[in-house]
Symmetry: C2
Subunit: 705 residues, 2 copies
């Protein structure tokens, strides 16, 4: 019976995607094909042949009649059939004309390997714009320029449209990388680890087809099980967020962004040209969209090995089986560090193990089957852990002790691994130059057991599987839309200035945020009047558009207790600032709360970042702050409170009372709504906000528009 | 001319060391030799033969006349010649007798592979003590029991006294590991990286010959260039510190201590038995003695590769040469993260590079010679960096672009590397399954260039070389001996109690530490009298031996401004505590300083730890504290101040004044002297000490003896 679901799958499989001519070309023209060995125009053809490309190759060369044994044509117009994809490997100045030709010929996708465009200054930018205009006119999609190309390792295509030198076997990991150099060594690393690859894309200047578009394409590709992504920044971060949100929960995206130090970012700028948009926000984008972020490319590749064969664990509870002590200690350290737990075994499990293990074995978690333990001992431990309800994943340390039948151990691991019920990760310690152990390794490898050479590396890989489980189950929810906002509020256009305090407080009040009671006084008498209205003690702050860091300049007087002190403070400020427009902000003084900060930083091409942390002088001293990309949901705001280092302070310590966390969480969300409503806000600091047991009140704030 | 120095070296080389019979045995008896394949008593003989052991092998077996083709003897007494070393592979209960036999035969070193001793409870402990007594009586040194053994890869010996399966080629790295499993995979990892090994030792229960003793032996071995050490704790940390101090500045010691999480420590306890002594102090021991600490065993092995061939850089300034963009960005990030700097190139260097590099090259630091750059381009960049005064080391990213003569590039790198003037680390990105690139790799390998597969891994290795340079040049100096101490001070024996405040303050004063002026009052009148003497405002604290956490219990009244308030406070405390022996500590109230903490924790078998950090409630909330192992020198005390996260606070921020750091540094040193003078001090907290611009004063303190 054909069900609705199966129809959909069939439809999906037959659906033609715009990028199919790029990733699944039935025919490829190489414009700039060359008979010169080691030239890119020759290497690309050589690679297609070497990789057994299943489609047709059309070398385009004005003079040669054949290249590498394949008939060549003077121009694409001389090719008698349709062409899906063209490689362009000619000097940059000829590219606009060639793109027009491709359009006329009906070629849908073009990989421009040639350099000499936006990465080379004005002249190059003009050329890039010229060929892009032609591409738009004719509906040609451009991959590159200044790029490597793509690879599709699916045997149906074997499309090696690239000049690199690694020939991966087919698999389920797809790679997209901004840098060809990094993409290539990631591909090589998978190859060295004997992990198959699905697709590869390295798009250089990325003037048309973006990383985001490739990411979505991989997301829709049924053969792609996990994705590796490398970038140094995003030209269009919003587009990326959209794409990542679609894909990241369905398939693990393992990503690395370099240029995380100032020096690294400089090095990045020097080779990719200016990448507009985000820098520090990239990690926040990864977090928000559920991308697994790595800052070590080797860890990323090693984790990919686990994703390529293992199921995702249901939780963070791991059982360890080991036949050697020290490596289990190292593994335990790392497993715990990445958030996994080692629950004790059930009495039932202990009873079974006591009957089945050697007398020297240690029954517990880890289970030490000892070096003399054989296949049956590993098997009973594996079976026990597979049946333990409290265990979500299995970590194995397997050293090939010379006095055991290691093949038998491997066969038992493989049999249990085939069930695919819980992920199994194996730290396999052996000497592969010994034939006997090569056999053991092959049994594990063929049985789909991911094998690592170090306990820490293996533990990190299991940590990555668990992290993806958290990504899949984490639901940040939708940002709350507060409806008690004063909708009459309007803000002037951004002009790079700070708003007067009175405006700032009005804006906060309009958004339902508590502000310490305040008035603006023009003179001493008004200041005394207002102080009485507000109730002592008060704070007095000098107000003039030129004053920003008031407290550093002596423009703030705190804890004013009576009219006499008001007069003194006002007189002193008058004397100090001698400013015609000087006014005086009289505000309720609120000592004894915990000083916190909520801040906002606008981002080019991206939503503003919201910051929360310890306020007052501790902002600078401790930098104990957390950023999130807005809009911030309630769950995210809660996470901000619990992730600062001083989060204990909010709960109250040593007799001190805690704060009203709910009110802080609400302020963060209201600020998030405010800055999303008014994109002209460039910068905002509520510092400090005073958090009390019952409520939280803003006592100082500034807004730059 | 034979100088004094050269005589010493000759003497040293000929000197006979007690452990020579263990590491350089001329003859080995295998007591428990077996003809059974895969048994340890057979594998050890097989390994000795396979590794071409240069000495004589004497299998000892009551029944067999030969084992693996070698004449066997019923007992060691039947062996006609002297024996240097014996392997003991017999049931534990026979071991005491065999050790006595060994003693009688004049065997100086014994490796006990057999298990069944201290790791197996009381009976085992008794057996271990029994054979140890015999060993002492006859002057036999014991390695093990429950251990693997040793390996000496020096071709003069080829002594493979171990049952493992990795056969390293000779080299300059020596390994000592508590866990045989970890030792074995470290050895295997060096083998996989094609790094030679010098010596190997894994001593299991370590009942006699300790890791410390082996470490000293490696330190004196001229062929050992660097040492890898793995442990899960120390039985005798003082002995280890002595050994490490002797060796760590001469030769890099790369070390890893596992069991750093609670769960990991538990796992360690379950397989090594209880290791008395330190746990959290291990990192501090490593720091104090100059050991390079790793928490990732792969990083440690990769770093060893750099140490095995490269000189130590003179400083932290690195020049990068790359022929691909992205990997240079990744490398830059990591290099900067581990403390290296990328200085700009001199004008002279830039001029040379402009003349010698391709037009597409990026001239700067990194120098991007681009993928089409060949041998001459790499060479000119290398020569320039070798001659730059501001560059201490060279990092190379070398991808084997198919369109360049990669052998020529490799040859140029090797020629410059042979100079050994500055360390060269190479991230070599290639496909070793391609013959052409295998040749390139061999050129680099034979030329002693350490090659890595990932930029981050390579950068970490260079970071380790730099770290050793810091170790070699760091001189913490000797602990200062303050002579203005009141030498009449005495302390009772430790009894697990807290000293009364009056005693605590007297002790601090005796050690020249400023304490806020104080008196002990018996009643209200005395309290008022003393408050007047001290000067208001004061603090009043309830004093009785039963009161420890006074402030939590309402036993502290601060900011008392006059006699009336004194009376009120005293009356309230009387009512609250209803304690016959209740007294009242009247002390100067000192608001406005920065609250800091200095603390002490005693360690079993080791000097106490000194702690410094943010005081008051921030101790618990932020845990912004630094520990050092006492005695703490002036430099170390300075490091403590500069390494807390809030160190900026001490310098003063946003108009706030800084503190008198010198006075804090002195307090730390005086406390260090105090606890070294009085080992009965179990615990001490000066919390808070109030730091002002001019001085630092202790306002509260407790001491447990």
């Amino acid at each position: 019976m054909i069900t609705q679901a199966s129809i959909q799958i069939i439809d999906n499989a037959n659906m033609v995607h715009e990028l199919d001519t790029l990733f699944k070309p039935k025919s490829i023209a190489i414009i700039g094909a060359s008979s010169k060995e080691l030239s890119i125009g020759n290497v690309v053809i050589k690679n297609l042949i070497h990789y057994n490309y299943t489609g047709k190759i059309y070398p385009i060369n004005l003079k040669e009649s054949e290249i590498r044994g394949i008939k060549a044509y003077p121009t694409i117009f001389d090719v008698p059939e349709d062409i899906d994809l063209a490689h362009v490997i000619i000097p940059s100045k000829f590219v606009p004309q060639i793109i027009e030709d491709c359009g006329k010929k009906g070629i849908k996708s073009v990989i421009i390997n040639s350099a000499g465009f936006s990465e080379m200054g004005e002249e190059g930018i003009a050329l890039q714009e010229a060929f892009l205009a032609k591409a738009k006119e004719y509906g040609v999609r451009i991959f590159g320029p200044n790029c490597q190309g793509i690879i599709n390792a699916n045997p149906e295509y074997n499309a090696y449209c690239d000049f690199t030198f690694t020939f991966p076997k087919p698999g389920s990991i797809s790679i997209v990388a901004l840098s060809g150099g990094v993409g290539a060594f990631i591909m090589q690393s998978l190859f060295d680890l004997d992990i198959g690859m699905r697709m590869y894309a390295s798009n250089g200047n990325a003037c048309d087809i973006s990383i985001s578009e490739v990411l979505k394409y991989y997301g829709e590709d049924e053969g792609t099980k996990a994705i590796i992504l490398y970038t140094e920044g995003f030209r269009n971060p919003r587009e990326f967020i959209e794409a990542a949100k679609l894909v990241a929960k369905k398939k693990p995206i393992l990503a690395m962004k370099s240029g995380r130090t100032e020096e690294g970012a400089q090095a990045a700028a020097s080779h990719t040209g200016s990448l507009a948009g985000v820098d520090i926000a990239t990690e926040l984008i990864f977090e928000k969209t559920g991308i697994l972020s790595f800052n070590n490319e080797e860890d990323m590749c090693q984790a990919a090995m686990a994703f390529s064969t293992q199921p995702i664990p249901k939780g963070n509870r791991v059982g360890i089986i080991t036949n050697t002590g020290g490596p289990a200690v190292i593994a335990t350290d790392e497993l715990v560090s990445v958030g996994l737990q080692l629950p004790p075994l059930s009495q039932k499990a202990i009873n079974i193990l006591k009957e089945t293990q050697l007398p020297e074995a240690t029954i517990g978690n880890p289970i030490d089957v000892v070096a003399t333990g054989g296949g049956i001992h590993f098997r009973s431990a594996l079976d026990v852990l597979m049946n333990e309800e409290n265990i979500d994943s299995i970590f194995i340390n397997f050293v090939t002790a010379p006095f055991t039948d290691t093949d038998e151990v491997a066969r038992n691991i493989v049999e249990v691994n085939r069930l695919k019920r819980k992920p199994i990760i194996c730290n396999f310690m052996t000497n592969l130059s010994i034939d006997r152990f090569q056999t053991t390794a092959k049994i594990l490898k063929d049985g789909g057991v991911p094998c690592y050479s170090f306990p820490t590396t293996a533990a990190k890989a299991l940590g990555a599987l668990y992290k993806f489980q958290k990504v899949q189950t984490r639901n940040i929810g939708e940002p709350k839309k507060f409806t008690d906002i004063d909708s009459s509020l309007s803000l002037p256009k951004g002009n790079g200035t700070f708003l007067p305090s009175s405006d700032v407080f009005k804006i906060l009040s309009a958004y339902g945020i508590l502000v310490a009671d305040w008035r603006i006084a023009k003179n001493t008498d008004e200041a005394i009047l207002y102080a009485n209205e507000i109730g002592f003690p008060v704070v007095i702050k000098a107000e003039a558009s030129s004053l920003v860091h008031k407290s550093d300049l002596g423009g703030v007087a705190i804890n004013i207790k009576n009219a006499g002190e008001v007069k003194l403070a006002v007189d002193r400020m008058k004397l100090k600032f001698k400013n015609e427009e000087l006014k005086f902000l009289v505000q309720k003084f609120l000592p004894g709360g915990k000083e916190l900060i909520v801040g906002v930083t606008a981002q080019k091409e991206l939503e503003p970042l919201i910051m929360f942390g310890l306020g007052g002088i501790y902002v600078e001293v401790l930098k104990d702050v957390i950023f999130k990309l807005s809009p911030v949901t309630e769950l995210e705001a809660e996470e901000m409170l619990s992730s600062i280092k001083a989060s204990k302070l909010l709960d109250g310590v040593r007799g001190q009372s805690g704060v009203n966390k709910k009110s802080i969480i609400e302020i963060i969300q209201r600020i998030s709504q405010l800055v999303n409503d008014f994109p002209q806000i460039k910068e905002m600091d509520l510092n400090p906000i005073m958090a009390f047991e019952d409520k939280t009140i803003v006592v100082d704030a500034r807004i730059k528009i």
